[in-house]
């Protein structure tokens, strides 16, 4: 069996690139010491934490992809560093360790702990908590659309479309105003409400007119990335209830593999912007003409940003939820840019006895999920690596990700 790794830092060196849609710069795999860093020096004697990584393997035979597998290369079981602590200490540790989507992690932790132990650990009101999560969601969407995507395509990154959102963090009205300006004058080239009203012909015209760099990227991906068949979507947390929470919590306890490979009603389910706005006419128009592809996931993010610029943040109840699922047990669900984040906790006598997290990446990179459905069979091998990189960007893992071709 022979492995071919896609060149980090761009696809130009990859043999998969020729004739394919222009695609991503995949970061190198996690190595000792620092997240995915090419080692140029020896680490010191202290133990170093290597974050979890994802490896996408495309199995190739006779010039075609015959299978796609997703491996998680590192796990960070929470039990070893959370169990036995007080709720307050657990919140402190999670707040320190999880620096990406920090607001969402803290909100989920606080909501789960409060619901499980009936104790107040919150540092802010429920409305403030939901707003901080929402602001973070907008920023992460912008990072994906205006930094990672052009980076993948070899275009100039657009930090000017992201930085104002970082600077405006904290004030909903201010951040909404910044977002409206950035979209109207930068990404969309037209007012967000008018853009949201485009029909299929209008969307195509917006792409082909290519008045903005964002529109040019959508034009480049129109019909260019591999479509997936329709696969299940995880319902937005606003539609969850206690029965669903109890099922998820029970499965988490019973199945040690569930946190990494979660399922909804027994099936892998995609989460994120496309699950939240899948019925929007603009997205339906894209899917009807281009397919249920990587570009559809990018468009879903842009639709959410345009909706936010138009209408402001959603209700707090649509962002952060928590349910008691037993005596001293709770499940919290939080909407993030990448999808639903779950925290499940058991508390007894003011001590954490069990703590588990299901990250959106677990749902979206399920070994039998949408990625495998899109790319797992009968794809021409020459372009498969670039297609996998496009899909990886669109699904946006919260960890470093590599793509390799494995020749049978």
């Amino acid at each position: 069996m022979e492995r071919t790794r896609h060149a980090p830092g761009g696809c130009a060196a990859s043999p998969d690139r020729a004739g394919a849609a222009p695609l991503p710069a995949v970061t190198p795999p996690p190595r000792a010491g620092v997240s995915g860093v090419p080692a140029e020096g020896a680490g010191d004697a202290m133990p170093a934490f290597t974050p979890q990584g994802l490896a996408i393997d495309l199995h190739v035979a006779r010039g075609q992809v015959i299978d796609l597998t997703v491996r998680s290369t590192r796990q960070a079981p929470l039990q070893s560093w959370i169990a036995g602590t007080t709720p307050g200490e657990a919140l402190r540790r999670i707040g320190l360790a999880f620096s990406l989507c920090r607001s969402a992690q803290r909100a989920a932790c606080e909501a789960a702990l409060e619901t499980a132990s009936a104790a107040t650990v919150r540092t802010e009101s429920a409305a403030e908590r939901a707003w901080h999560v929402t602001g973070e969601l907008w920023r992460e969407h912008a990072c994906n659309l205006f930094l990672a995507w052009p980076g993948l395509l070899g275009d100039a990154q657009q930090p000017a479309l992201v930085r104002p959102l970082l600077a405006a963090a904290g004030e909903p009205a201010v951040m909404q105003g910044k977002l409206r300006d950035l979209l109207a004058n930068g990404a969309l080239g037209m007012d967000p409400p008018a853009w949201l009203q485009l029909d299929a012909a209008g969307l195509q015209a917006w792409c082909t007119r290519a008045a903005t760099a964002t529109a040019r990227r959508f034009a480049r991906w129109y019909g260019a990335t591999a479509p997936a068949p329709v696969t299940p979507r995880l319902p937005p947390v606003a539609r969850w209830g206690r029965p669903e929470a109890k099922v998820i919590a029970a499965t988490l306890r019973a199945d040690p593999d569930f946190a990494l490979h979660p399922a909804w009603a027994g099936s892998p389910a995609e989460t994120g912007a496309i699950a939240r706005v899948h019925a929007h006419p603009l997205l339906r128009a894209w899917i009807d003409h281009s397919g249920n592809d990587a570009g559809a996931r990018m468009l879903a993010r842009l639709i959410e940003l345009a909706q936010a610029a138009d209408a402001g943040p959603p209700a707090a109840e649509a962002i952060v939820r928590a349910w008691p699922v037993g005596s001293g047990s709770a499940l919290a669900a939080v909407e993030t840019s990448r999808g639903v984040l779950l925290h499940a906790v058991d508390v007894a006598r003011d001590r954490i006895t069990d703590y588990r997290i299901v990250a959106p990446t677990g749902w979206n990179f399920h070994p039998h999920g949408v990625l495998r459905a899109a790319l797992g069979s009968r794809r021409d091998a020459p372009g498969c690596g670039a297609q996998a990189q496009a899909w990886s960007l669109a699904l946006d893992p919260c960890v470093e990700c590599t793509v390799e071709r494995v020749h049978a």
Binding site: G33, V34, S35, F49, A97
Partner: protein
């Protein structure tokens, strides 16, 4: 999952920098935080500096990640590794 690593800028040119953490160097994108002088601490997520850190915050996060690492090796007393960073507001990353 969802973890960033504090790294110190060794040298930078525009939005590209060589950063170091624990003796390991990597190329880091500074597009979000702009060019930074050598010695600046940044929080790196998937090759991109997401925010500028004070030395104190960088060391706290480093110690927390060390705490996770030693916990995975069986250490039970983690109190020296976790200090309170909860109350600190998001740092302004605008250049």
């Amino acid at each position: 999952m969802c973890l960033g690593v504090p790294m110190r800028v060794v040298e930078s040119a525009g939005w590209s920098a060589v950063c170091e953490a624990r003796g390991v160097r990597r190329k880091v994108n500074l597009a979000l935080v702009d060019e930074q002088p050598a010695g600046t601490w940044v929080l790196v997520v998937q090759g991109t500096a997401r925010e500028i850190l004070s030395t104190e915050d960088a060391q706290r996060i480093e110690r927390a990640l060390e705490g996770v690492a030693v916990a995975l090796q069986g250490e039970r007393d983690l109190s020296p590794y976790f200090e309170d960073l909860i109350a600190r507001p998001p740092r302004n990353r605008e250049a």
